[in-house]
């Protein structure tokens, strides 16, 4: 149990807006093992997005412990958090969040630019990542020239290009039609099959069902944690 990707304990998050204080997370204990494809479900306001933000070091918990790959990161300052996001976390958002004036290839290069990777290596790795999501022929296109599904696949390529410890996806198919949804889920499954750990927030049961485990949240806490039995094919031995 040493190699846990994520381990949180008593994670709380309070949002203060003047006199009103909202408890978005009320003590979450969550462990994610390497190679898991975890889906977080729950009604809106249940705290699933806040939990993902904290797991992605985009926000700091008010209280509690968050160990990422064994390292306590809950109290990291802006700089350290930026470094964690850059090197160990990949994000996929509902709204794709590609830079509109940069090409697909440039978008995929972005995290490596901030990571100080040299231009040539950047190009090469971005190209590989685009190939992994089946878009190696779309590198020179602007996001506006791509379909929603393609844009989200570019976002997946951008998230995996740094080979992060965990890929965090926030409603990755929320803005997509069913055909594009299938495309993106196939890509995520492919990435998972390559060994990536994925934590995905979704409200759709059939999307969540593509994972290996589903965590149901309610009122800032975990209400149900269900392991999904993999069909037929058993995990292969090393």
């Amino acid at each position: 149990m040493v190699d846990r990707v994520i381990a949180t304990q008593g994670l709380r998050k309070l949002f203060d807006s003047g006199s009103l204080s909202v408890e978005a997370l009320a003590g979450v204990d969550l462990v994610v093992e390497p190679g898991e494809f975890l889906a977080i479900m729950g009604p809106s306001g249940s705290g699933k997005s806040t939990l993902l933000s904290i797991l992605g070091c985009l926000e700091r918990p008010t209280e509690g412990s968050y160990r990422l790959g064994g390292e306590e990161v809950a109290g990291f300052d802006e700089r350290k958090a930026a470094r964690v996001r850059r090197e160990r976390i990949g994000f996929v958002f509902q709204a794709f969040n590609l830079l509109p004036r940069s090409t697909a290839l440039q978008n995929v290069e972005l995290p490596m630019i901030y990571g100080g990777v040299g231009r040539r290596e950047r190009r090469a790795r971005a190209g590989e990542a685009l190939a992994a999501v089946g878009l190696d022929d779309r590198g020179g296109h602007l996001p506006s020239e791509l379909s929603g599904g393609q844009q989200q696949r570019v976002a997946v390529a951008r998230a995996i290009v740094t080979r992060p410890d965990v890929l965090l996806a926030d409603e990755p198919t929320g803005n997509l039609d069913s055909k594009s949804e299938a495309e993106v889920l196939a890509v995520l499954e492919g990435v998972h099959a390559e060994g990536a750990t994925i934590v995905m927030v979704t409200h759709a049961r059939e999307v969540a069902g593509r994972g290996t485990r589903i965590v149901h949240m309610l009122d800032g806490g975990i209400a149900l944690d269900e392991q999904i039995d993999l069909p037929a094919e058993a995990p292969s031995a090393p």
């Binding site: 985009l58 926000e59 994000f91 901030y114 951008r158």
Partner: protein, 403 residues
């Protein structure tokens, strides 16, 4: 991420809104341009004062006879109050090097054939030409011999020379003044102007001739007194005043029939107009830069707000606050350096135009261009800092939800 990439990003962002960028940079452009033009005019004026002093002769006191009001209420008949004795006495003062008498008639008609003009006709000695650094472009200047023998010869200023003898050489030609024929022996080189009055519209004749033919009497109405250094000008003026008071028996409360003036004062007064303009330009430049800076701050704040989402994405992907800050600062700097470059170009061109159209001497120093450009960058840094900082410390989770 290196400087090149920051710059590339910055230019990309500016190009995306090029019209807005240009309008934003306008304040900086105007500010830098006026700074460049100002320093060029200022340097030109400094050079021009020095050149004027050299051109007109250094350390010269203008001693002039003056009309005085008579007890009857009328004005005295003449301002030719300086006697040969006065001039000799002034020449005796220890600090005085030279006393050059002059006798001028304004607007006297002179003619050559059927052409005529009305220049200043001045009787003088070679000493006058010498202390005022005159030189001849054609023929020669007046000599001591001309003066001694009372030769009826004339040196023309550039303007009467070109009016009376267009196209041809005036030397050896004859010019009529009243009923006398003078032989032109030379043309003096252009002197420019003093106190707004052209010095080129004069003709010179020997003072002995002037006294005999044109005026009569031994008194003159002016003399230029030269001393060795500028420092001696003031005390010598006091000494001359004292001497003249005594010689002309001017009691307290009586009107003075003479005046003394430092030639440098007249030159400086002429430059004072330029100096007022300089102060104005400096103020304009500073205000334009300030407004330009505020404009840049404003547009950068707008830009930060507009790109809140982009900032959020970049931060989510691991951009450190310093990187974001550098990116927006680079944008402000790129805007300002573009504005600075355009401003420098316009400023240099404006200096040339001012020189051509207003006739002011301008001098564009490379250092002044560097300083003006640096001022533009400084404005960019100063006014870009706050917006960049604001962008840098935006919480990513909030920023990405922004629409």
């Amino acid at each position: 991420m290196n400087i090149y990439e920051h710059l590339h990003l910055a230019l990309q962002a500016l190009r995306a809104n090029w019209l807005r960028s240009l309008l934003t940079a306008l304040g900086v452009i105007i500010g830098v341009a006026s700074l460049v033009a100002l320093t060029a005019i200022s340097a030109g004026a400094r050079r021009s004062v020095a050149a004027d002093l050299q051109r007109l002769g250094p350390n010269i006191i203008l001693l002039d006879g003056e009309f005085v009001p008579l007890p009857s209420g009328e004005q005295s008949a003449t301002d030719r109050t300086l006697t040969p004795g006065d001039l000799a006495a002034v020449a005796q003062l220890p600090s005085v090097i030279a006393v050059a008498p002059r006798q001028t008639v304004e607007g006297m008609t002179i003619s050559a054939g059927r052409t005529q003009t009305s220049p200043f006709v001045t009787g003088l000695t070679p000493l006058y030409e010498q202390i005022h650094n005159y030189s001849a472009t054609e023929g020669r200047l007046l000599t001591a011999t001309d003066d001694r023998y009372g030769r009826e010869v004339m040196v023309l200023g550039p303007r009467p020379a070109s009016v009376l003898f267009p196209g041809g050489s005036p030397v050896g030609q004859s010019v009529r003044v009243l009923n006398r024929e003078f032989t032109v022996v030379g043309v003096y080189a252009s002197k420019g102007s003093l106190g707004g009055e052209s010095l080129d519209n004069s003709v010179f004749i020997p003072i002995t001739v002037a006294k005999r033919v044109l005026f009569g009497g031994e008194n003159v109405h002016g003399a230029d007194v030269q001393v060795a250094t500028q420092a001696e000008v003031e005390p010598t003026m006091d000494e001359i005043d004292e001497l003249m008071f005594e010689r002309h028996r001017i009691g307290p409360g009586h009107p003075e029939d003479f005046s003394t003036e430092d030639q440098a004062t007249i030159i400086n007064a002429a430059e004072a107009a330029t100096s007022t303009f300089q102060t104005l330009t400096l103020a304009l430049g500073a205000i334009a830069l300030l407004i330009g800076g505020i404009g840049i701050m404003n547009i950068m704040l707008v830009s930060v707000t507009e790109r809140t989402r982009e900032i959020g994405i970049r931060k989510a992907l691991g951009a450190e606050p310093g990187r974001i800050q550098a990116q927006f600062l680079a944008e402000a700097l790129a805007l300002c350096s573009a504005g600075g470059l355009i401003g420098v170009a316009i400023g240099v061109e404006a200096s040339r135009m001012i020189n051509r159209l207003a006739g002011w001497q301008t001098s564009v120093a490379p250092e002044s261009l560097a300083v003006a450009f640096a001022a533009a960058l400084g404005v960019g840094l100063f006014f870009g800092y706050y917006p960049a900082r604001r962008a840098a410390h935006m919480p990513p989770a909030v920023a990405m939800r922004y629409d």
